[in-house]
Amino acid sequence: MIEQNLARLVQEAAGRYGDGKETPVVMVGAATCGRAAGALAVLDAVSQTVQRLGLPAEVREVGCLGHCYAEPLLVVAKPGWPAVAYGYVDEGTAGRIVEDFLVNDDPCIEFALAALEPNELIPTFADFARGACEQKVVLEKCGLIDPQNIDHYLATGGYAALARSLMQEPEAVLEEIVRSGLRGRGGAGFPTGRKWQTCREAEGEIKYLICNADEGDPGAFMDRTILESNPHLLLEGMVIAAHAIGATQGYIYVRAEYPLAVQRLQTAIKQARSKGLLGEDILGSGFGFDIAVFQGSGAFVCGEETALIASLEGEPGLPRVRPPFPAQAGLWGRPTVINNVKTLSYVPHIISKGADWFRSLGSEQSPGTAIFALAGKVVNTGLAEVPMSTTLRQLIFEVGSGIANGRQFKAVQIGGPSGGCLPEEVLDTPIDFDSLRQAGAMMGSGGLVVLDQDDCMVEIARFFLDFTRQESCGKCTFCRLGTEQMVRILDRITRGQGRPEDLDLLENLARSVQAGSLCNLGRTAPNPVLSTLRYFRHEYEAHIKEKRCPSLMCKDLIAYYILPDKCERSCDACVGSCPVEAIANNEDRIKVIDQAKCVKCDSCRVACPPQYSAVVKLSPPDAVPGGGGVK
């Protein structure tokens, strides 16, 4: 019965799904990142070209392939040809690629990023260092299917795992997840099976399942990408989870800053309901479960489970003391499982391919893959999925192709605002929950910000502490006031007013905040300070003892200076770029900065043509010849 119902849906879907084998398909990556790069204009240009030429092609708005650095991205799948991805396209090139490839059989190799399947013409992603590291499970279909069309998901094997699990006893499904060793991808790595079991065994008729899509870590965008690129994968995982734990109602708690994700989720939920994959009597199994989307309101602490529940209940998002754990008494006092987007997205794959397959990926203690958002000073920013125990070095230098603009690697910030900053020496650490903790960072949800020689480690510690201070819910004294004190000290240091005893004071405060906080926001807030003190103490010391910022980042400790012998007198680029008219000619027509006026906006340095590179930053500010007239 269940099987037949699914088979019918798949059959209907197949008729409506083009895979490029019969008619050409042109896909435009239009997730939030793609849109920011101009994908909607590209989409428009593609549609117009197809229309103008009267081509029998499908134009498809898709999510993100993960190669964000090359956005806007285009994929062309034409019968008889390998599918090819093009990067850095604009309206003009997009129109040309469509016309040349579809009409004239010219795949425009000069614009191609890579082919998606092996062929003799164009290398595939797997031929690059990045491809050798990557192993896509959750991201498999992202950027290739229309997230707003359930038929694409169904026709490519979607919801088969759901049908399979509905034909099993809930205990058997649960057992499979336990055996897979899946650990939560929301940060702490708690065993998912154990959480589900607690909830299943808890007393109560009514149980809830909540998907945590709050993704509050700045620098993280994995969950957003999954929601925008393949929302049905998550929905399928949620229904399977609900069946396993006996939940009847589900919520997806999405952060307010993700309007496109919310919209695509709502469309997906509607479609799943209309196909009988959500709601009462799912696929004729007798099991009923529905999902509602709840939008967050911009409070980082609401990612914490008990605060999230408070928020759903219409309260300010204050964490509560545990136990009882949400799995025992959560939303409205009822047993509630909360899982991250990625965690739930693994579930259909584990059910269809089995726990042993999952265990064959990654490491013994951390099976499976890990999904990372690569941002910052790395060449290839974007999203990558690699097996657990891949090293940080591989991730940054192979997947990310190293540091941009010929700069030197300095550190990688991992685990969100409460993670840590790791230096070169520990880059060979395999990425998994336990090794990272040992190195003084944490897995977190997968945000990875790469820092280079121009980034000041004191400033970054200040930045994170300032973030947690602002986001502290204020319930615990140490979290509220301890972080405040730490920010003040760090602030002072970045302004060149630090004292030698500040470092010990910082360390003491850090230990106290760790010990005196109720929730993990407070308990982990000091991590950035402790890890930078551990690995980059010399930078703190330079700020304190020499009033100098070695990375030339801290505004109060630098000055802009135009090197007289490099300044090309007749070039006025810097003068025009300065927003406060701080740059003037001297008697020799060499440009000079009025230090009292300069607001240190960096415009002149950017504007100065690379062949001159006459504008430099100096630290301390009185290193400017003649004292620069500052302080």
Binding site: T32, E71, E257, E313, P316, G317, G376, L451
Partner: protein
Amino acid sequence: MQLTAEEKQLAVETARRVAASHRPGKGSLIPVLQEIQADLGYVPAVAMQEVAQLLNVPAVDVYAVVTFYNQFRLTPPGRRQVKVCMGTACHMKGGQIILESWERRLNIKVGETTPDREYSLERVACVGCCTMAPVVLVNEEVHAKVTPTRVDGLLFAHQLAKEQVEGGKAIEQGGND
């Protein structure tokens, strides 16, 4: 900021309409406030009072919720809401410089609205476009890899658009005379 009588009237009506489509009780509180803000751009005090009554939630709890969450505004936003991302990636790529550029050009501080209510300036935490850092939102539109000169460019484009609209209006009015 003083609200006009019409603004207050509109706020009350919006609150009533939104609350009517939800069940009373705390569980509806946040969605109702969000809808009001989506409609009006902010949640004025009169709307909060109305919501408290209609949902049968103590007014102080409504106020506690509105002030706890970063997303809620108590005053009307500008017609163009400028939000500068201050997430990690944007910060490391000069988000602060961009924020200061807006402050300088609009002559307001972050959190404020220009007296003509044309612009308001806010900071947001990561909008998930870190690969495009630094990022600025103008209303819902994301602008990638922003520089101080780009800020000037955006303002100039807004100015042009505004003049065009006003020019259009003038012509229309001229035609009606």
